[in-house]
Amino acid sequence: MTTVDDALASIRREREAERRPAAGEKGVAAGLARLRKLRNGLFGTWVNTLITLLTVLALWLIVPPFVRWAIIDAVWTGTSEDCAQAAGACWAFIGAKFNFIMFAFYPPSLHWRPFMVLVVIAALLVATATPRLWRRELLLAWFVGIVGSWLLMAGTFSPPTVASNQWGGLPVTMLVWTVCFGLGTPLAIGLALARRSNMRGVRVLAILFIELMRAIPFIAILYVAMLILPMAVPGGALIDKTIRAMIMITLFWSAYIAEVVRGGLQTIPAGQEDAAKALGLGYWRTTQLIILPQALRTVVPALVNQAIGFLLATSLLATIGIFDLLNAARASATDPKWLGYYDEAYMLVAFIYFILCYGGSRYSIWLERRLNVSHRR
């Protein structure tokens, strides 16, 4: 069973392959054609005209009140007293609490650290999104970047140290997301290979693990991390809460990634394996040199989609008391000085998530096309 996102993407791919490129009109003719298309699209038939009018009416009921709240009556600068008197949104609140929403309880004098971490992760993400840079060195860069970020946040080599229960906001969201995805992927490749192995004992183990993980809610996994993991480690040694959560999240996500990878493995024709065997390659060499490079290449867009889903899911860290971006936003509105501006805080967080995820899904579509083109050559 594939994930919903995956299936949707593959259908879109087929449709796009079928669609013919637009006729090469230029200049005034093209402009007129576009205008005609727009007119037909809005007022082509009387039914269409009616739909347009009804949609405009619905928009009229929703958009102006929202604009009035968000822009016209909004308070852009000032104090909470100014906001209390106004009828609109209190963007002054965002201005005052922006650093808190971004970095939560991290000591304000050290805010440059989480800021640097965000810069490093953003740079790594941009580099990873560039197919030209897909080399071994990139993995090394990730390793160095993440370990460095972690040490910088903790202040191990540059005191004062900051305990991880004081970390928060966007850096925590990004660290948990990237680390768990990064560690989950190799695990997932192993699971996917195990699930297709001809060793039945190994196969059954992989199936049990994957189906178990996929059947239970994310929150249950977080509870396991909170309640069971501390009891299960030898001697009851208490590992840090964030790390405990990250261990379980890595295991959880690896099951989902494994299914995506398996989808890629299934696209490789059996002839490839036979050919490799005829050349005298063993299982591991065949897998490493022939199967995986092709399989992973086809699933990169699906992996991007999966990663977007995971980024959205990290917001559940709030339920176990970790101050990720969403939880920080919620906490910001409990400040006695600025009490109850939840809508504004949520609006900001929604905007950040939307930019990241919408950008990611656009990128995934672009990448798919690019990979397809170079594949067909």
């Binding site: 259908i11 079928e18 727009l38 405009v56 994310f218 309640l227 069971i228 009891m231 969403l326 919408y358």
Partner: protein, 398 residues
Amino acid sequence: MTATADSPPTGAVRPGFAARIRLWLGPRIGTQIGILAGVGLLLYILGANTVATMDRIGINPGFGFLTRSANFEIGETLITFKAGDTYLYAMFVGLLNTLRVAFLGCLLATLLGVSVGIAGLSRNLLLAGLVRWYIEIIRNTPTLLQLFFWVSLSKAFASPRQAQPVLESIFLTNRGIYLPGVTLAGGSWLTLVLVGVSIAVFVAFILIARRRATLTFLRGLAAFALLAAAVTLAGWLTGVQTALDIPELRGFNIQGGMVLSPEFAALLVGLTVKFSAIIAEIVRAGVESVGQGQWEAARSLGLRRSQIMNLIVVPQALRVITPLITSSYLDLTKDSSLAVAIGYPDLVSVINTTANTTGQSLEALIILIAVFLTINLSVAALMNIYNERVALRGSGGR
């Protein structure tokens, strides 16, 4: 091949059994046994550690606590629950709450999602564009964030005393949403028989019409209208009294009608909206999965757009849509566990409370995992049966 594979038989009865295991396992017996033993050992160590820790903090491992009485209240329940009932019963109440929100959520998300999906397929550019943005915004923001938003919205309503009714009978208040309900009284076994027969006739009609491929949307709608009329008539003939139970403001509170708590309403609306966007995408993808050639062929046969939809596109699209929608129903059921973050007492929330009050977190979580595994596996099994039927019909031809 390792040594174990070719080791000679050691006894008279054993070889058969060992050989069977060897056959089942396949190649590389030694490696496999090593891996299985390793995993077993890891689980054993983790389990032993857990039990040792439970011992140390004075908790008896085992499911005996299920029959002890739970000293907490559950905010809202479908069946009565009071502090002092057993933990097992409390979990059952939580499960019913989960199923309640999951069932209603799937139903409403499907209605909204299919409507939105169809609207997105419209040739009207404005409507299609609007739907596009709705889907993108909903899909690219976290579900939990949306739930928080709905909760904060439901808290922003007026208190019951000041609430103004919408459409004369719906009250949106910060204590919950009051909807008009229907109360039924009277009737007899004859009512049940008549209603049962009507439904049976309706189902039989739909099945036969589908078999003969004469079922269109309009005929289905007409049959449904007839069913509704028959049920009403049956009730009227056998003397069932129906009364509208409309909520109204009496004193300081609102009396009558159905009440949805703010948490339940927020969770239901949140799940409905989130999954309507996903289902809308599925519907669109399903319709688009039917190739352009099918449309062209149908048009050349002189079919109208509505006929093409009903007779050619929808039947084929359903083959794509059904498994995906089922998968999203399962996701919705899993996501209903977000209830715990906004204070609706679903199964996860009750289990969490149980784990915290008894300390039996391992057992509580095992129950939680078992329940979700059962739900998932049974739906998957049903799905496989359905898929086989659809596949057969597709390849068999008529």
